[in-house]
Amino acid sequence: MGEPWELTLAEASDLIRQGALSPVDLVRSHLDRIAAVDPHLLAWARTVPEQALAEAERLEKLLRKGTHLGPLHGIPVGIKDIYYTAGLETAGGSRVLAGFIPTYGATVVRRLRAAGAIVLGKTATTEFAYADPAPTRNPWNTDHTPGGSSSGSAAAVAAGMCLGAFGTQTVGSIVRPAAFCGVVGLKPTYGRVSRYGILPLAWSLDHPGPIARTVRDAALLLEAVAGPDPNDPSAAHRPVPRYAEMLEDPLGGLSAGIPDRYFPERASPAVMAAFQEAVRVIEGLGVRIHEVGLPACFEAGVEAGRVVLHAEAAAFHRDRFRVRRQEYGPKLAALIEAGLLVPAASYLRAQQVRSEAIAAMRRLLAEVNVLVTPAAPGAAPEGLGSTGDPVFNAPTSTFGLPALGVPMGFAPPGLPLGLQIVGRHFDEATILRVGTAYEAATPWHARRPAL
């Protein structure tokens, strides 16, 4: 075994359960790693080393007494800085909320802690999870963006600073940064994970979800936090499968649809070459491949999501924005200003168009089990002024469909590319199964950035 921070979450979990790895040693290893590499990457808004070590000691004592809380027992994680954390500053990557210390934690954070996970700190985010970038740099090339808005979560996992992290996706903020950083990102179905205690960007589009090094790790993190929540009426009353037990179920009988438009014409040649190879791999795993026609209302549905994003973001920020306009970044300010102009009738019409598109996508996904697309049009762009184009992720966010991003190769000069696997509503199990098999058949997830 190398350093503990080099393990996957599942590997560390097994070693802790067997008594072969101490949670204290695991946390120390990650804190050392943060001290060594984060000055170059700026993935963390703040860390809490003393609290993390104290929690690791408490969890170690529990183990000595014979109490094992489950697969996340002793696992160090990062939490995007828009999740409320009781007693720990939650600034949302903003000046407006600097110094804000919540008195309670988000449901996701409370469930993680209850499952034995150890919060190392808060990961950097774009301002209020929109587009004004965090200072975070891409671990594969620090001249490039790590993507966003879950910039710090993706970079921290890719650089071995935690074994898993949580982000949110309103347009493209989990799957895209995961692709740019060469890690796994899982945006669950809307309603699969509670949004309680998470600063909204646009509440009908916001999806919390995990970022991890492997599909199995992401499945373990999802399993710990998913499910209904009395504090969030949009959290669905659906049973949560034991995802980790289903990951290696055979893929025979599954079918995958390859969209005939929207994605191919926007993807770079390097992305399309890697994507075509990925499709061949998936076909070789026993999945039937079909080209599928996207519904006629697909693009209108995506545009409707843009109207919804503007209006809901403006609604959330309106009162604070009026008195503290100068403390907002330019991109978020423009979003709010434009959103304040959207009439209620247009917002409602946009939701109606969106509902039509969701219904059409449900009909399409009745024909195939999953859709497969590239996760982004290209690799991470150079520069830190933009977090890249979320155009390939906006549809799944707008339609509430679960999407899994897995590493798909590299583009010159060595930046990661991602594959996006999209499933039926609440069928995260199938995209995780396909992702697991694809991951096992390819070498990409095992590569690490040289830091």
Binding site: A334, A338, I358
Partner: protein, 74 residues
């Protein structure tokens, strides 16, 4: 996407802005950010006039992906 002139004017009215000769940053930025999206929504809702009625479900109220968002009822 550049929407037809009639739709441009309609959206301009909707946003409370004039689209020609308007030199202030805010209306032009709002048009750039929202004009094509509103035009697409407008076009889709016009098309829906000839389709079976849609029951509006606001995602976030627990409905998304969990039940039928549409009905054939007129």
């Amino acid at each position: 996407m550049e929407p037809p002139e009639q739709v441009r004017q309609w959206i301009g009215e909707l946003l409370g802005i004039t689209l020609e000769g308007d030199s202030t940053r805010k209306p032009l930025e709002a048009w750039t950010m929202l004009g094509p999206a509103l035009a697409a929504v407008h076009g889709a809702t016009v098309a829906m006039e000839t389709e079976p009625a849609t029951v509006l479900v606001i995602p976030g109220s627990g409905g998304l992906g969990t039940g039928s968002e549409t009905t054939d009822a007129a």
